[in-house]
Symmetry: C2
Subunit: 198 residues, 2 copies
């Protein structure tokens, strides 16, 4: 009946709400499947974000580029995660987020208009997106606190604990741009830590 990719997203939804088979079919019919090659952009800054993306395989990265040309990573999206430029998606205005693929990545896209229609047709989806937004908010606020209260070393340790699988798949440079240090300094942190352990 369903492909493995479709099973993955239905299970993701199923964590918070129950859908009847016909509702599942309807939801699946709204999705647009897409493959993003390594390093290709799914969303570019100053564009209007019109879809939510669900990652089936691969890994996406949401980041901004500051006035000095430095990249700052807001979010990594490995399989089973949702990603979008929430500001742009909600406001309908151009955003500052870039979303690209760290490796070849397969996603489902859900158009904003379809998402809004879904809220009206199946109000449980309103509940679903409320819940995952709440969870995102909790982790975003925790990140604000961590950035203020922890040293670079502690933020790196925290990242390793929080995303043990990502450490080996994404480039260190990207981890540095997530925890908020230069790649050079992260390298020094790691070598210091290693010498301490020996």
């Amino acid at each position: 009946m369903w492909t493995p990719a479709q099973q993955l997203i239905l299970q993701n939804i199923g964590k918070h709400i129950e859908l009847r088979p016909d509702e599942q079919s309807h939801f699946i019919s709204l999705l647009d499947s897409k493959t993003i090659p390594r390093k290709a952009l799914l969303l570019k800054e100053h564009e209007v974000c019109r879809h939510s993306a669900f990652v089936v395989a691969g890994c996406l990265r949401g980041y901004t580029v500051d006035a000095n040309g430095f990249e700052h990573v807001l979010q990594f999206a490995p399989p089973d995660w949702w990603i979008a430029d929430m500001y742009s998606l909600l406001s309908g205005k151009p955003g500052q987020l870039n979303i690209d693929a760290l490796e070849a990545t397969e996603v489902f896209l859900l158009a904003k208009t379809d998402q809004e229609q879904l809220y009206r047709d199946i109000p449980r989806f309103e509940r679903f997106f409320r819940i995952i937004t709440e969870k995102s908010l909790v982790s975003s606020r925790q990140r604000v606190l961590d950035n203020m209260s922890l040293s670079a070393q502690e933020r790196y340790d925290q990242f390793c604990r929080q995303y043990p699988t990502l450490i080996h798949t994404i480039p260190q440079k990207q981890i540095a741009a997530y925890i908020g240090v230069t790649p050079e300094f992260l390298s020094k942190l790691r070598s210091k830590r290693k010498r301490g352990a020996i």
Copy 2:
């Protein structure tokens, strides 16, 4: 019919959903009005948060205390704002957030259990809280980016622009604990800026 405080919260809800008079009455009946004296705690760390609070007058502050005893402010809640320890409220586990009053503050409390019942009775409330959670997420993520890409001076300027009214009402020490610098350093930033302007 309604007190000014009740009008304020109904208008706050009315920004995103429409309620019939009987629904308004029902909602109002769920609220618990409370006055928090200056410096008193509404929520203490390691407690379980069981309410969302809506500020009618005064100003609340949500903050944590780190391993070295330093306070970090996650949120200020002036009138017309909602505040809670989202992590604790959602998980039912003890949280790390303290919420206290910067001045004598009047709030409405909405119990978690009533909020959940409200979702079932009036699904539009699910929409309401989805929308304000989305907005909170957008601003929390923006704050993560600002903390990574802006200098202390720029974060202070940003704060002044974003909360022009708060600057004159909240102690500088608290603003420092919000933008992530020591009170001494914020004082130096301000004096530097002033000299530059002369």
